[in-house]
């Protein structure tokens, strides 16, 4: 199966499909309400010329809109997670735990932190799935 180019709409579609296909996700995420935006800061040296905004909608175990979007839509999300490209790649490749990245300031979050803490199993599940499909990263060798 061909690798999916990271941080594209194709990648978002694959990510959504992987979440929907996961046998445990629906149960684990049954209490989660609200959208999440991932903001990947521009890093031209790594093949990310402009900041990328990704919008994901989650609701009680169902998955809604999953799109590459503009800044305004991203900022309308209930939770906005921002980080440098290399950090997101580390998280996706499971080289850096997302919670640790947040606590160390390598990722920033805008939103209700206690809500995230209370639903940490959902967060961990979604991130775990992120690493489960083959991805071509912008700075990977062609």
């Amino acid at each position: 199966m061909a690798k999916v180019k990271a941080l594209t709409q194709e990648w978002m579609d694959a990510y959504k499909a992987a979440i929907v296909a996961d046998p445990d996700y629906k149960q684990i995420a049954k209490d989660w309400e609200g959208s999440v935006a991932l903001v990947c800061n521009a890093d031209p040296d790594k093949g990310v010329p402009e900041t990328i905004y990704l919008f994901q909608d989650y609701w009680h175990g169902d998955v809604g809109e999953f799109v590459v979007c503009d800044k305004a839509k991203a900022e309308s999300a209930k939770f906005v997670m921002t980080g440098d490209y290399s950090r997101w790649k580390q998280v996706a490749l499971k080289e850096l735990d997302a919670t640790k990245a947040l606590l160390q300031g390598k990722l920033k979050m805008k939103g209700d932190l206690p809500y995230v803490v209370r639903n940490i199993k959902t967060v961990n599940k979604v991130i775990d799935i992120l690493g489960k499909f083959d991805t071509q990263w912008p700075d990977d060798p062609a």
Partner: protein
């Protein structure tokens, strides 16, 4: 050294003679041992024999601040209470936040060394260099909250340190409370105060402490405030208190459950978590002096069987010992147990752990209902727990057994009861499971006050709350359930983290702030112009000094071990199937720390750290 960073003098009190005198330490000693518990260990070794009975009149009780205390820098409200521990029989120390430390320095003292025993109850009053030993019979028998209120009646600006009934009764897990909301709980030092007939110490001061470089300090202060604002850890602590760890720790395998026998219980963590406390019982957040984080909880239970007054809320550790450890899902009951321990003056880790142990022994039939005064010690029976807390504080019936702490209690009970205890060197482990985080297991084995999460920064580095690759070789992300590479992590995290207890700066701020910011503030306050490597060496000296103290008391390699339970794998949870590789951890750690096969610091290590006198005592 007075005026710049330090008040410049210490107070010695002989309670037997009812006499007080000032003394000073030379600059070289101050620079080498800095303050807090490190300086206390130095004073103990220089002035007292180590083999004293901790509760004997001759044994010293010390209250020490550090060079940054009173500066106004975030996290520097702290002080350390130090003595030989009556619970463990080795080095004892317990740091505390609040406001007493800065007030003591403003009153003109960097620390207080108290020995002797008063003929009748007294309290010590320090108000701007005016020191008095005052009669305290009217306070004896009163709890910490009431005592604090009485002492503040005539002067609300007084900062109060006091024991409750547990300290008076020489309960070996007794704590010392500062202004009701802050506690030196670990190693039972409240009993040392009680043994001296010393009910309280109060301080008020108006002195000002100078700084060597005011402009440099202001820049470091601004940097620190910005780092706190940028920190998710600080935000989490402000919003949820230390109990933010309950939800996160349940996922990672950090939280002990049912006296360390169960690996996972999300129903418990959900009902006992920081977010739940915020939603149901929090009335406001509270801060130690000059702290922008404000992690302390103020809570109130309005209704039900566990109603409380508005007061200090439980830390994560207490939600563990009186919650998950007892299979109790009722956070209101945890808050009530916390209130009782605070009022009587007992360490909530040791007290909760001892009761959880008793519950397991009761389930196994090792303790009968008759043995425990007719109390039904079924898991989660919190009515029984409230009764037992009081019995421990007053040494009544079965409470008198648990008042000795878990290890001594288990030995008294016999019948393999000791196998249910999770303690190292006599001190019950805090609520962080080494089966989920092997580095913590090594840290427990090597902590100089017994199993501890606050003699180092291992909790922060191994669990990823902090990463300091600029300070020493470390990764951003460690796998908890491996022992490989953990000895170096623990060694370095000790050398840095232990400074929290000598500089007297809050461990959370050590985790939150950049090391260069803390160093810049430290140098601006003291003018010592130390490098980060100098600070790490000071941390090495601190650890080695206390290790030597314990070696003189007979501590050797045989004591550097984990209890049976922590070497028994759990079947579920984040630490499932995993136990620390003790042999690997100790082998690598001993080499890094410069310990010989007995567990003594090698001569060359002692010389390198400038601990020649200790070398002479260890190698005579």
């Amino acid at each position: 050294m007075g005026g710049i960073g330090f008040a410049g003098k210490f107070l010695h009190v002989d309670l037997t003679k009812a006499s007080c005198s000032d003394f000073t330490l030379d600059d070289a000693t101050m620079k080498k041992f800095m303050g807090g518990s490190c300086l206390a260990a130095k004073i103990f070794l220089d002035r007292y024999p180590v083999d004293l009975d901790p509760l004997a009149p001759e044994s010293p009780f010390m209250i020490m601040t550090g060079p940054m205390v009173g500066s106004g820098f975030p996290g520097t409200s702290r002080f350390s209470i130090c003595a030989k521990s009556p619970q463990t029989g080795i080095w004892g120390e317990s740091a505390c936040g609040g406001n007493f430390g800065p007030e003591l320095k403003r009153a003109g003292y960097d620390g207080i060394v108290i020995d002797g025993r008063a003929a009748s109850p007294v309290y010590l009053s320090l108000t701007d260099d005016h020191v008095q030993i005052l009669e305290a019979s009217h306070l004896w028998g009163k709890d910490i909250y009431e005592t604090t209120d009485i002492l503040k009646e005539k002067d609300t600006s007084l900062k109060v340190l006091t024991i409750g009934q547990a300290g008076e009764n020489k309960v070996l897990i007794a704590a010392v409370g500062n202004d009701k909301g802050h506690f030196s709980g670990r190693t039972g030092l409240g009993a040392v105060m009680g043994a001296k007939n010393l009910k309280a110490v109060v301080a008020r001061g108006s002195g000002k402490l100078g700084k060597a470089d005011e402009d440099g300090y202001k820049q470091a202060f601004r940097d620190a405030i910005q780092e706190v604002k940028d920190s998710a850890l600080a935000d989490g602590l402000h919003q949820m208190g230390s109990d933010a760890n309950m939800d996160l720790g349940m996922v990672t395998g950090d939280v002990p459950i049912k006296n360390w026998t169960v690996g996972e219980a999300f129903d418990l963590s959900s009902s006992l978590s920081g977010p739940t406390m915020k939603e149901k019982y929090l009335t406001k957040a509270h801060a130690c002096a000059n702290c922008p984080v404000a992690c302390k909880r103020v809570v109130k239970v309005d209704e039900g069987p566990f109603r409380t007054q508005e007061g200090p809320g439980p830390e994560y550790e207490t939600c563990g010992t009186f919650g998950t450890m007892m299979m109790n899902p009722d956070l209101a009951a945890v808050i009530k147990a916390n209130e009782l321990c605070n009022m009587y003056g007992m360490d909530t880790i040791s007290c909760g752990s001892a009761i959880a142990m008793a519950m397991e022994l009761y389930e196994k039939g090792i303790l009968s209902k008759t043995d425990v005064d007719g109390i039904d010690l079924t898991w989660g029976n919190m009515d029984a727990v409230m009764v037992l807390i009081r019995k421990i504080a007053f040494r009544e019936g079965f409470g008198d057994v648990l008042a000795e702490g878990s290890v001594k209690a288990a030995r008294k009970i016999g019948k393999d009861a000791i196998d249910t205890v999770v303690a190292v060197k006599g001190l019950e482990a805090p609520m962080h499971d080494p089966r989920g985080f092997h580095g913590m297991g090594l840290a427990y084995m090597m902590s100089n006050r017994g199993a501890c999460h606050l003699q180092h920064a291992v909790l922060a580095t191994e669990q990823g709350m902090a990463s300091w690759p600029e300070l020493f070789d470390m990764k951003d992300d460690y796998v908890g359930t491996t022992s490989v590479g953990k000895a170096a992590l623990v060694y370095n995290s000790e050398n840095y983290g232990i400074l929290g207890n000598s500089l007297s700066i809050c461990h959370y701020l050590v985790d939150i702030l950049k090391p260069e910011t803390i160093l810049a503030a430290f140098n601006a306050i003291t003018g010592w112009n130390l490098s980060s490597q100098d600070l790490l060496k000071a941390g090495m000296r601190d650890w080695t000094l206390k290790r030597g103290f314990n070696n003189l008391l007979g501590i050797t390699v045989k004591d550097d071990k984990l209890p049976k339970k922590l070497l028994t794998a759990l079947e579920e949870g984040g630490g499932a199937g995993s136990v620390p590789d003790v042999e690997l951890l100790l082998k690598e750690y001993y080499a890094l720390r410069g310990l010989d096969e007995r567990g003594y610091p090698k001569k060359e290590m002692l010389v390198e750290l400038g601990l020649d006198e200790l070398k002479d005592r260890l190698y005579t």
